[in-house]
């Protein structure tokens, strides 16, 4: 009889421990995921990744890559304007021709600044960091 009660107590304790562990895992994973996504990454994933991919890889022959893209390296002076106004027509990126219109995005200077630097510094890209002034200057001179 006494043994049984003891067993029951032990059982309760294990259940509690099990729950504590489960909750612990949950909290830790939430914290980890909130640390790993900075605002710049979040902006990129919200506004660009659906087409260009979470790793900037593009989509087959439809959408050009942003990771290690020669075109992007050579056209840094147009980057902010492309985000703001979109781009269309034939475009050769890493030797492949793309021709699919991209819409402009209604983003503010800081969001554009964040996205550009995130792309320039991700997935093996090693392109110089630009300032918010650079972005503003570019946007004043969009064609």
């Amino acid at each position: 009889m006494e043994n049984e009660i003891q067993d029951k107590k032990g059982m309760k304790k294990t259940i509690l421990v099990a729950f504590a562990i489960l909750i612990g895992f949950f909290v830790i994973s939430k914290i980890l995921s909130s640390i790993s996504s900075d605002p710049a990454q979040q902006s990129y994933e919200k506004h660009c990744a659906s087409c260009h991919g979470v790793n900037g890889e593009g989509l087959k022959d439809l959408i050009p890559p942003l990771a290690n893209a020669d075109w992007l390296l050579e056209n840094q002076d147009k980057f902010a304007c492309i985000i703001k106004n979109g781009i269309s027509g034939n475009l050769v990126v890493n030797g492949k021709t793309y021709n699919q219109a991209m819409d402009g995005k209604n983003l503010n200077d800081v969001q554009i600044y964040n996205i550009i630097n995130y792309i320039n510094q991700s997935w093996g890209n090693d392109i110089a960091v630009i300032t918010t002034e650079d972005v503003q200057k570019q946007l004043l001179n969009c064609k």
Partner: protein
Amino acid sequence: MKSILFILSIIFLFSCTEKPKELPFYGMSVVNSPLGLDTIFNPLPNFEFTNQMGTKVNNETFMGKAFVADFFFTSCPGICPKMTRNMLKIYDIYKEDVNFISHSVDPKRDSVEKLNTYANKVGIKNAETWHFVRAPKEEISKMADTYMVIAYEDSTVSGGFEHGGQFILVDENQFVRGFYNGLDDESVDRLITDIKLLLKEE
């Protein structure tokens, strides 16, 4: 040791509680008994489209196999690439067992040749399982109505066409069995599990 076993058994229990569910039927229903207790759903009406190879496809082409449908147009500057990306994810898993139809809502610009180019660009080299189809405007609206989704010309939206981002799941007998948001990863994952259920049903 005992507590580890216990945790494992809890996890095991949780993973078993989900009952195998059956997918619902959608569509225009006809109430078919005097008491109104039996609801019978109609399958898709007759349709005929032209695919990216210039071949005519109709009900018969798709009969006996489930398919997933969506609406798009090749010069779409907005949501279409994301839908195509998600459709490709499903295609990669189920291309042996399920067919796919992407309805162009832009018959003026989307010639057979344009559709063919688009299909090739996303890596679909022939129309064995994935048909990119065109049809006269009225046919497209009729089809959208049957699926109960939105697809119409609207010069005020980007690209000139309004079309919902839905994926529609149709079963082997051409009854509509599910609607999903082709722009939402979780909804697409639900479609992937629902197809599994549907294939078990067959």
